[in-house]
Symmetry: C2
């Protein structure tokens, strides 16, 4: 159990440390709490024993531990409503009815990254839930074509193909076949259908069917599984806790773009906003990630904000909440 005064002290320390990353001493707090520094020291000591505070060295002030931040996020932080200035900036994008969801999200994340100095990540619908909606071919010249794939959730991907000595007519035949026979199939299963339903047919009446089949097979095979958009990578360089050590920055850069990490935050099926602190992120002990899923009609995705543990939690949480709400309705 933790007393009210201890909570107060913990909150004060974290609030201060978030503003300015220097250890907090007992003297500063004694003024605010109207008791002596010795009393504060005693309380700090018990908070340290409970694992909520840490020291950087024997005679230093206290800094929050990972569990300290956890406690703060779960119990102490009051869910302040959003800063008017931030809201205004976001509204410029959010109230624009013309923008498609895609753009709303990428522009919002750009704004959030700019004003918070944290890195933001948007993960699009992972394509394994997508159904093939339509496929188009645009010929460029005698031997190059562009194949465009559209899924039911609005995901688009294109690929240039080089197929010399293949007639446009034959390609169009194949495309028509695909568009009538396997539209509606989950992207992941298209290639199986291609083999069993398209290949035998075109084998009979399309020249060079082998090569055409192979080309389309590759197109679907390369279909990007993940749509990742990372905004403000270098914001990490703005955080004092990282700038002293280049290796940590490298590590963070690598982990952030790592499929494993991205999958982890995407697959966490909780639909609410979730906060991962320090080691919970799988990135690095001083990194915190706040993420949420969103759903709007058929489209869905994940957005995440990456910063130091010493993150401006209430600001970021309120922005993310506001963003999610506005996207979803």
């Amino acid at each position: 159990m933790i007393t009210t005064r201890q909570e107060k002290i913990l909150k004060l320390i974290i609030d201060r440390y978030i503003k300015d990353p220097v250890p907090v001493g007992s003297k500063a707090l004694s003024k605010i709490l109207k008791c002596s520094s010795a009393t504060v020291r005693n309380e700090m000591q018990t908070l340290e024993e409970k694992g909520l505070l840490e020291k950087t060295h024997t005679s230093s002030g206290r800094i929050p531990s990972e569990s300290g931040y956890r406690y703060y996020v779960d119990n102490l932080m009051q869910p302040k409503e959003m800063n008017a200035d931030d809201m205004m900036k976001l509204n410029i994008v959010l109230k624009n009815q013309q923008l498609a969801l895609n753009d709303v999200i990428s522009k919002s994340l750009q704004i959030i990254s700019d004003i918070t100095n944290y890195t933001t990540i948007a993960l699009g619908t992972s394509s394994h839930n997508n159904l093939l909606k339509q496929i188009e071919v645009v010929p460029l010249d005698e031997e190059s074509f562009i194949v465009i794939i559209v899924t039911d959730k609005g995901y688009v991907e294109h690929k240039n193909l080089r197929l010399n000595e293949v007639s446009l007519d034959d390609i169009k035949k194949t495309v028509n076949l695909i568009n009538t026979l396997i539209v509606g199939t989950p992207i992941d299963e298209v290639n199986r259908k291609l083999e069993y339903e398209i290949k035998p047919i075109i084998g009979n009446y399309v020249m060079q069917h082998e090569r055409i089949y192979e080309a389309f097979y590759n197109v679907f095979n390369d279909f990007t599984k993940e749509d990742v958009n990372i905004v403000g990578r270098h914001k990490i360089l703005e955080q004092p806790e990282f700038t002293t050590n280049i290796d940590r920055i490298k590590e963070i850069y690598n982990k952030i773009e790592d499929r494993e990490f991205l999958q982890k935050i995407e697959e966490d099926d909780d639909n609410n906003i979730k906060v991962y602190i320090g080691d919970e992120t799988g990135i690095e002990k001083d990194v915190t990630v706040i993420k949420t899923k969103f759903k709007k009609g058929k489209e869905e995705g994940t957005i995440a904000i990456v910063g130091p543990n010493r993150m401006d939690y209430d600001r970021v949480l309120s922005m993310l909440e506001y963003l999610k709400e506005n996207i979803e309705r």
Copy 2:
């Protein structure tokens, strides 16, 4: 004028410094040149007077100056043929006949970045030379559509549109009109034609023509002017000359993604490989950029490699040359 021995010394210093970034002293060279260190010192002194060498402090060894590197690149470097190992790695991509140019380039640059530890940049055709080839619309549901634009040079861009209470039929009519009337127009001029040739027509027999017109107008307006692909951003963190100073890294990151810089290296209309050293890059005094344009059929673009002045010139140049050659034929 510079004597043969001076050239030899300059080359030795640069070769050494590229391998290991510590100032080179006279003693080390005296062994190789079979003369006393004092002689070498005299020669170094005249090389410094000519502006080809520098000292880091009064009693330090010499390091190459920007002009030193310049002289090295222009006169001293023997255009070594490519390292077999590097060639093998590149060939895996280059010899793959299936890949479209786009993929060949992005995969090659990935390889080059990985093996050299430099950042690489690919600039696609800047769209102002592109002609509109075709436009497609794919309906997703009652109120969302995807518009896909393809240019004659194979550049593809898509955009989600939200247009409620507009019939698919009317949109298709408009698209057909665009496809018959303004295909072949330079992308930059499409919007003008849209206004003078399409707007008056659809005004007569398309419902909601105002909103449809506006939507298409925006689609073309947002058409990305530049296709930029930066690979291996964090390779900069591997270079010892930068890791001591976070601010320089930030500066380099910013400049690299800066439109002005990208335009500069793109517009330099020299068709050969070009080396920008230090201040010539406009990025930072210790940064060197090597770039080349390529042309293959209708497609063209620019590729660049960004690293420290202390760059492994002959390796990079031979790779770039090989890549360019292989792309162009």
